[in-house]
Symmetry: D2
Subunit: 356 residues, 4 copies
Amino acid sequence: MVMQVSFSVAVAGASGYAGGEVLRLLLNHPDAEIGALTAHSSAGQRLGAHHPHLRPLAERVLQPTSAEVLAGHDVVVLALPHGASGDIAAALEDAGSDALVLDCGADHRLTDAAAWQQFYGSDHAGSWPYGLPELILADEGERQREKLRAARRVAVPGCNVTAVTLALQPGVATGLVDPADVVAVLAVGYSGAGKAAKPHLLAAEGLGSLAPYAVGGTHRHVPEIEQNLRAAGADTVRLSFTPVLAPVSRGILATVTAPLKAHVTAETVRAAWQQYYGDEPFVQLLPEGTWPTTAMVTGANTALVQVAVDERAGRVVAVCAIDNLVKGTAGAAVQSMNLALGLPETTGLTTVGVAP
Amino acid sequence: MVMQVSFSVAVAGASGYAGGEVLRLLLNHPDAEIGALTAHSSAGQRLGAHHPHLRPLAERVLQPTSAEVLAGHDVVVLALPHGASGDIAAALEDAGSDALVLDCGADHRLTDAAAWQQFYGSDHAGSWPYGLPELILADEGERQREKLRAARRVAVPGCNVTAVTLALQPGVATGLVDPADVVAVLAVGYSGAGKAAKPHLLAAEGLGSLAPYAVGGTHRHVPEIEQNLRAAGADTVRLSFTPVLAPVSRGILATVTAPLKAHVTAETVRAAWQQYYGDEPFVQLLPEGTWPTTAMVTGANTALVQVAVDERAGRVVAVCAIDNLVKGTAGAAVQSMNLALGLPETTGLTTVGVAP
Amino acid sequence: MVMQVSFSVAVAGASGYAGGEVLRLLLNHPDAEIGALTAHSSAGQRLGAHHPHLRPLAERVLQPTSAEVLAGHDVVVLALPHGASGDIAAALEDAGSDALVLDCGADHRLTDAAAWQQFYGSDHAGSWPYGLPELILADEGERQREKLRAARRVAVPGCNVTAVTLALQPGVATGLVDPADVVAVLAVGYSGAGKAAKPHLLAAEGLGSLAPYAVGGTHRHVPEIEQNLRAAGADTVRLSFTPVLAPVSRGILATVTAPLKAHVTAETVRAAWQQYYGDEPFVQLLPEGTWPTTAMVTGANTALVQVAVDERAGRVVAVCAIDNLVKGTAGAAVQSMNLALGLPETTGLTTVGVAP
Amino acid sequence: MVMQVSFSVAVAGASGYAGGEVLRLLLNHPDAEIGALTAHSSAGQRLGAHHPHLRPLAERVLQPTSAEVLAGHDVVVLALPHGASGDIAAALEDAGSDALVLDCGADHRLTDAAAWQQFYGSDHAGSWPYGLPELILADEGERQREKLRAARRVAVPGCNVTAVTLALQPGVATGLVDPADVVAVLAVGYSGAGKAAKPHLLAAEGLGSLAPYAVGGTHRHVPEIEQNLRAAGADTVRLSFTPVLAPVSRGILATVTAPLKAHVTAETVRAAWQQYYGDEPFVQLLPEGTWPTTAMVTGANTALVQVAVDERAGRVVAVCAIDNLVKGTAGAAVQSMNLALGLPETTGLTTVGVAP
C-alpha cells in the first residue's frame, strides 16, 4: 500500500519563464497541489494570458505577490528578479510560515558577501543550502544532496553555473585538472534572458545572429562557479567565462576546458567522470565519441556530459548540455524540493527530452 | 581617365556553397566577367537549380570540371572538396594555362607536410601563398598581403582559422599574450558544413539545438591556426579548439582567450589591437563595450573584433565575428584575387552587412 | 483498489521521427511496456544513436522489422514509410498475432481506392478505422471515437489532415460554412518531412527561409481532408491546400477559410465551435481574441483552435495549431490505442506544452 | 561619356529597420550622397549603436527629426511610424523644400479616406503617387511606373501588399481569376513588426513558434490590397487576409488563391503571368515546377512569383516571395526614387540574394 501525501505549492513570479517552468513540472508531479500563483504588474490577469501552453492552469488568476498570499502553503517557490527574494522570505518568516522556500533567484546562492557585493552591487541576503544535489563536496566526501534533506530553504543555482560545474567538477575533485586556469564558453538560448522586452532580445535581432555578452569576467555567475569548484576540491580557481546567445529558445551548451595534470591518460579522465556520475539519475556521461547537444535535453531534467583529452593542447575539454529552464532552474528546484520533503529525488522529473 | 580592364573568371565547384558565394561576389565586381561554371555530378544542370538566389546566372549551364573547360580564363577559382584541388591545378599547368588559381579548399594551406598528413591523412599537395592579407608576418615586419601581390596561386584560408587568427594575432605579435595556452570556442552556422545531405545537418535536427563537433583537438583547422600564430610571432602555440553548431545559416563567432602577460593593462591591449587593425579595410576593432555579432557581418567581407582583459582570470578575451562564406571563404578569395591582379584590394567587396 | 494491467507495445520503424515520438509518449504511459523496437537499415544499432533524447531506452538495440519480431506483443505500432504497412500487417495476421495494430503511415487511411491510386500511385491496401477520435460523424450523430473502441486496427491520420479537419469541421457539421470552397494554407515544421537526408531539408537551406511545396492540389493529404469533411456532413468538398515549410522543427499552424453562409453571426459561429469542442479533452477553443501558436502545443497532444468571421470577405477563418509529431501522429496513435484497449482516452497524454 | 550627377538623401527615422535598410541600399547606390539622418528618442546617438552592420556610417550622429534638418536635401525618405509622415511632409513644404519625398509609412497610400478612417482610426493625410512600379493600371493600359516619373511625392507600399498584389494581379488584369473571393495567407518574418520591444516579439517567444495575428480581416493592409487589385482591373474585390509570423528575420511568402474562371487552362494562366512579368527587372516568374522561397530573395529587390492551377479546387494558386525590407519597403523606395529622378529604374538595386 502506498500512502499518497500531497502538499501545496505557491509560486511567486508565476508570469515569468522560470515561474512558468516550475508550474509545467509541478503539473506532472504526482504529489504537488498547485496553490497560489502570484505576480507583480500582471496580478489580476489569467495565467493563460502569460503561459497559454499550461492549459490546465489557463483560468487561474494571478494574485499580488505578498507574504499573506504565499503563507499557508507547504512549499513556496520564488521566481523573482534578483534582489526581490530577501524581503519576501523575511516576510514569510514574520508571517509565521514554516513553508519550504525555494529561491530561483540569485539572492541566496553566494556564501561570500564580498563576492556578492562585487558582482551584484547590493547588500548580501545571506546564503541558503545550495540546490545542486550532484555538487561534489570534497571535504565531506559526499554530495550536496545530503545538505538538502530536510532543508527549509534552498537557493536554486544559476543555469550557466550548473552547466559549467557539472561539466568539470569530476576533474577537480580527482585532481586530474588544474582549476587555476579554467576557460568556459557557453552557447545559450534566449529564455535565459527572461521575459522583459529589450531591443537586443527581439526575434528580428536574434534570428541569424550569434551574440556574446558579459565578456571579460563580468557575468554574475562567475563567483558562483568558483564557489562550486572550490567545494569540489579546488584550492585556487581562476575562470574565464563567456556566454554567447544563439537563436534557440532553450538550452545551454557549455564547453569547459582546464589544463590536464601531467601523465594523465584519457582512460583515467573518463573513469573519473564515470565514477562521479555513474549513479546519478540526472547527470549522464555519454558513450565515448558521442557529444551532448541541447536538443537531447529539451524539457528534461537531464545534464548530458562528455569529456575528451586534447593532448596537443594539454587540456581536458568537457562539454555539458542542459535545458536552462529545467535542470538549469525549475527542475533543480523540484529535485531539491523532493529531497527537502523526503520524497524520492526523481519524483515528477524526467530524463526524456522533446526532440527533434 | 580610368582604363577599365576586365578579366574572366571560371569557378570549379559552382554548385556548392563556396562556389555560389564566389559567384555572388563576382556579380558585384566591376571588372570580373564570369566564365565557365563547372560541377561534378550536377554538370549539365542549370545553375538556377542550385543557386536560385543568383538570378542573373540562373540560366547558365554547369559544365564538367576539367582543365580543358577551366583553361583559357584569367582566373580560376577552385571550390572543390578537400583533396580535389591538387590534380586539377596540375592539369591546368599541363594545359599551359597561366591563370591565377585560387583554391578555396584546404589542399595548399599548410606548409608542414607532417601536419597535413596527421590531420588530413593523405599526401601533401604543397603550399601556396596564403590568402589572408591581414595576417601579421612578424619576421618580415609586414602583412601577408605583400606576398599576394602578383601571386599566381593562392590558398584561401579556412573559415574558422580566419576568425581565430584575426581575433588573437595582435596580442601574439606584440607579445602581450602567451600563445602557449590558447583556448578558442566557436559558435558556427550550418553553411560551413557544406551542401552534402547528412542526417545531423537536417533542419529538423539543427533547429533548437546547439551541437559541438570535432571536440578534443581533432578539427583540421587546428594546425592551420597554429601556423598562422607562429607567423604572427609565436614560438610555441598550443591551442584548444572547439566548434559548436548553432541554428544560423551563416556566421562564425569566435571566442578566443589566452593568458595575459604580467603587468599589462587593458589600455595597452586595446592599443595593440588598434595598432594592427586601425588601417585595415575589412578588419575593425569595435568601440569599447560593443561586442561583435554575426548579424553585423552577414553578407559582408568584414571581420569585427573586440578584446577585453579579464583580470580575475588573467586572460585576454578576444572575439571575432565573420560571415564564414564571405570573409571566411569567398570574400577572402576575391580580396586575394584583387591583390594578385594589381587591383585595389577592396574592389567589389563591401563592409555593409545585411541585417536584421 | 486499482488493478494495474500493463500491455506490451512493439514499434516498427523506431529509428524515425514518428517512431521516436511514439516511444517518447509511451515512456510516460503508466500501463505500456515497451517491447521490440525494429528498424530497417539501422537494425543492430543502439536506439541511443538515433534518439539520444530518450535516455531510458538508449541502450535498447534495434531489431530487423519482421512479423516474427513484432508478433507476440499486445500492440504493434507501424511507423514506416508509406507503402510498407500493408505487407507487415498481412504478415502479422499470418503469424497468428492478435495484436492491436496502429499504422502511422498513410496506407490504410483512405476509403476510396481511386483517390488512393490517384494520389499515391499504387494499389490500395484497404481502409482501417480512422484514428481521429474527435472527427464528427454527421450521419451517426457521434464522433469517431466510438468506432475506435475495441478496434483491432487503426489508421492514424496525416498530421496536416488533423489540423485542417479540427479547424473547420464544426462549421461543416453545423452547415454554417460552405465546404465547396475551402482554402487551407499551413505553416509547417521540418520534422514532418522525416529523417531522410535530402538537400532541401538541410538546416543551411531551411534557416531563414519560407518554402512552399506540393502547391496546386498535389499534396497527398488532400483526399484525406476531403474524406473527413464529408464525414462531418459536407456534400461537396473542394479544397485548395498549400503547405509552407518554416524554420521550426515541430508544429503545424493551419489557416483554414470557407465561405460563411448568409446571415450567420460571429456569435453563432463561435457557439458552433464551442458546442463541438467544449467537452473534448484535447481540442480546445481559445478565449475570444487569442490565437493559437504552435509554441503553445509543443510536446502536447493539444489542438488549439480559434475562429473568426471576416464579414468584409464573407468568410470564416479558422486556425488550428498542433504539434505534428504528437496530436499529428504519435499522440493520435496513443489516444486511439487507449480507446481500443478500453483505457481512459487521456491516459499517458498531456495538454501541457513545452514553452517558450 | 557619362555625366555623373549625384544627389543628396536625408533619412528620417534612420534608427528603425526601414530606415536602416534604406541606408543599406543607398550605400550601394552610385549617385546617392547620404545626408542627414534623423531619429526621435535616439537623436544624438551614433548610427553604429543602432545599425552596426552599416560600417561606413557607424560614426554618423543621429539628429532630431525636423523640417529644418531635412530641408535642403534633394530627396527625403520618411521611415516613421504610421501617422507621423503627414506633419513632417507639410512642414517640409512650409520650409520651401522642393525635395522628392518618399514615405515608407502608410499615411499616403490609400485613396479612399473612409477606408483609411476605418482601418487606421485617424484623419486621412491624402494620397500620393503609389510606389509600386509594376502595378498594372487596367484603365490606362500601362504600369504604375509611368505615374512615378518626375513625381515629387511617393507613398511606398506596404510589404504584405506588394507580395499579394504581385502574386495575383496578372490573373485579375486578364480576367482569368475572380477577384471577388481572394484568399491570401502569408508567412512573414519578424523585422516587419519593427524594432519596438514588445513581449510577443521576443526571440524566446518567436523561436519555435508559428503565430498568426490580425486574423479575420482586421489587418491594415487589407484595403490597400483591394485598392491595387481594383487598379489592376477588378470590379469587386473580396479578400481574406491572414499573416502568420514565422521565425525568420526577413521575408514574406504569400500564398494567394482565387477562383479560376471556367475553361481556362494552365497554359493560359502561365502565359498571362509571363506576359505581365516577362520584361520586369525585379518581378520574375520562375520556371515551371520551381516555387519561390524567401531565401532566394534575401537582401535583393526581387519578387519571385509562381502560379499553378488546381483543377480539383477550381482555383489558381499564386505564390510570391519578397524580402519585406527590400522589395517590400526600402527597395521599393529606391526604385521609385530612381524613376522620380529620371535615373535608370534599376540603379543601385540588385536581384542577387544572399543565400544560404
